[in-house]
């Protein structure tokens, strides 16, 4: 006699520790096998795009910290300021551009550390979480000295940055980089050869190069599938064209490849920070821009490489004091869509590993 089987619907979230925020996954199961995953998003929707339409160009800088991805506040400010500067034709002084590069890369390392630590916990490795947050705390201290904030900085301004680096900060940052690079090797040693970690990540959650492009994946997720794309190389902004760094690419497209890409990215970011600090020119940190600036009529689309991928802002101005329309192209939004493809055919126990590996932040997905 044949056994009767039926499909099972499993709701994960919206309140679940491993979804890294408020995300609901509707998982359709056949026994333990995943047939389909439908993410249900919008729980953290703050309509930041609408809010921006009612605030001046200057006020919006601090809005990008909160309304967009909260783990990479400085990179959000970067893309917003770049968009306004390009639209209004504002030149940023050399020193400010170097400072921005240093800050962006520190932010990338901090974000990757949060990802690695929390993903480690998801997979049952507690030590790596403690180690990562130990180093992240040092970056937070570095940020606090410069910007006064740990998560929400409001440090970039249209036309430059708010304040110069404090005395001795560059040396301190240099010391941190020297300290940090061997730590990356330690994470590597802790995880890369760990049989449990390998069993849970290698070959799991594969997305092909073709699918990754078609589904709009970007950043480390795309690079782990063999797409050698990095906006910092493709369309260099600030002074990335003067920096020497490699874009790590893996071809497997599985969770392990995404881990390898991010680990290498931390090393490359440290390399960029070193060069930017060495090249830091003296001079002005901010161009004078009137507080009630108006951007000329027009539209601009600016892309940057954030810790999660291709972060863009499409800014439309009708000549007024506030933006007419802001469209935030969030990398996590498209990467989360690619999840529906990655999950097919895996076991229910892999859901956590695969979801963690794409490094989503729900305030970036929902905006």
């Amino acid at each position: 006699m044949a056994l009767r089987t039926e499909e099972l619907m499993l709701n994960m979230g919206p309140q679940h520790p491993s979804t890294h925020g408020v995300l609901r996954l509707v998982v359709t199961l056949d026994g333990e096998n995943i047939i389909e995953v439908q993410p249900d998003i919008g729980y953290l929707h703050s309509s930041v795009e609408k809010m921006m339409e009612h605030r001046t160009y200057f006020q919006n800088v601090s809005l990008t910290d909160r309304g967009m991805d909260y783990l990479i506040a400085l990179q959000n400010e970067e893309v917003y300021c770049l968009a306004v500067e390009r639209l209004a034709g504002i030149e940023v002084p050399e020193r400010a551009r170097y400072i921005r590069v240093v800050m962006n890369e520190l932010q990338r390392i901090a974000s990757h550390l949060v990802w690695l630590g929390t993903w480690g916990i998801d997979l049952g490795a507690t030590t790596v979480f403690l180690w990562c947050f130990r180093e992240r705390e040092m970056i937070m201290d570095l940020f606090e000295q410069v910007t006064g904030g740990r998560l929400h900085h409001a440090y970039y301004r249209i036309g430059g940055v708010y304040a110069d680096l404090p005395e001795g900060w560059a040396e301190q940052c240099q010391r941190f980089v020297d300290y940090f690079l061997p730590r990356v090797d330690e994470y590597d040693a802790l995880l890369t050869a760990n049989p449990i970690f390998l069993a849970r990540t290698r070959g799991v959650g594969v997305i092909s190069r073709r699918d990754a492009i078609a589904m709009g994946a970007s950043g480390p997720v795309a690079r782990a599938s063999g797409i050698a794309l990095d906006v910092r190389k493709e369309e260099p902004y600030e002074v990335y064209d003067r920096m020497q760094f490699d874009v790590p690419v893996q071809s497997e497209g599985d969770c392990f490849a995404r881990y390898r890409v991010r680990l290498e990215e931390m090393r490359q970011s440290a390399r960029i920070i070193r060069q930017a600090l060495r090249g830091l020119p003296p001079g002005e940190i901010r161009t004078r821009v009137p507080m009630t600036m108006k951007a000329p009529r027009g539209e601009v689309y600016v892309r940057t490489e954030s810790a999660r991928g291709d972060l863009g802002i499409f800014l439309v101005s009708d000549g007024g004091e506030t933006p007419y329309r802001v469209k935030i192209r969030a990398p996590s939004f498209s990467n989360l869509y690619a999840l529906t493809e990655m999950m097919k055919g895996w076991k229910v126990a892999d859901v956590i590993a695969i979801l963690g590996s794409i490094d989503i932040v729900l305030s970036d997905v929902d905006r």
Partner: protein
């Protein structure tokens, strides 16, 4: 995108408007008008000097009304959209295999649906803008060409109310399913969602019936 490619594209689709070129032409016209005004003013100054009269007031250039595009931007009719998109994706010269986003702008008298296409291999990108009337905001869906458009189109439907015809699953994505209106429209007025109003009035009826104080803190004396 190089000028040759743009020319090739426009040759294939003569109905497509090159908005960046139109902007340049408009800018040139405005500059010319300004130059003519300045010449006139200069002549007036010299005339006044010769006649011994006070010089006329210096001119002030008024704010430019030109709409600026940064990068190649094309206006496409919605009937032609799918053909244009398929051609841009499949032609190896253009190879636009990556769709960055789909969104829309509410211009009060019309909508403009915006597509940002990119070619990772050729390293160029293009913006397509499709004007649609406000009372009939329909465009064909491009989910058949780029799978990644699915969520972006759902978002544009949710927040701006653009209907993408042929979309496999067009429903709200960010707002709750029973939400009324489309928040990013310029004429949108926020109202408390209906379920919230119902919950609150139900609670008020209960309070009125039992004489219980708000938050259940003892009876109302």
């Amino acid at each position: 995108m190089s000028p040759e490619r743009i020319a090739q594209f426009l040759e294939r689709f003569p109905r497509v408007r090159d908005l960046a070129a139109e902007q340049r032409a408009e800018q040139a016209r405005e500059d010319e008008e300004w130059a003519a005004k300045q010449r006139e003013w200069q002549e007036a100054v010299e005339r006044a000097k010769a006649e011994g009269k006070p010089a006329p007031r210096p001119l002030k250039r008024e704010e430019s009304r030109v709409y600026h595009y940064h990068g190649p931007t094309f206006g496409v009719e919605r009937e032609e959209l799918l053909d244009v998109c398929r051609w841009l994706r499949d032609n190896p010269e253009f190879d636009m295999s990556y769709l960055s986003f789909v969104s829309a702008i509410d211009w009060r008298d019309r909508f403009e649906v915006v597509y940002h296409l990119r070619s990772p291999a050729r390293r160029h990108s293009v913006v397509l803008k499709v004007p649609v009337p406000r009372d009939d905001p329909r465009v064909p869906s491009v989910t058949g060409l780029w799978r990644g458009a699915e969520w972006h189109e759902r978002e544009a439907y949710d927040l701006l109310g653009i209907v993408f015809e042929g979309h496999p699953d067009l429903r709200r994505i960010l707002m709750s399913a029973d939400w009324k209106g489309h928040p990013l429209r310029k004429d949108y007025v926020y109202e408390d969602p209906q379920w919230l109003v119902e919950v609150a009035s139900q609670r008020q009826r209960e309070i009125a019936a039992t004489g219980e104080d708000w938050e259940g803190r003892g009876s109302r004396s």
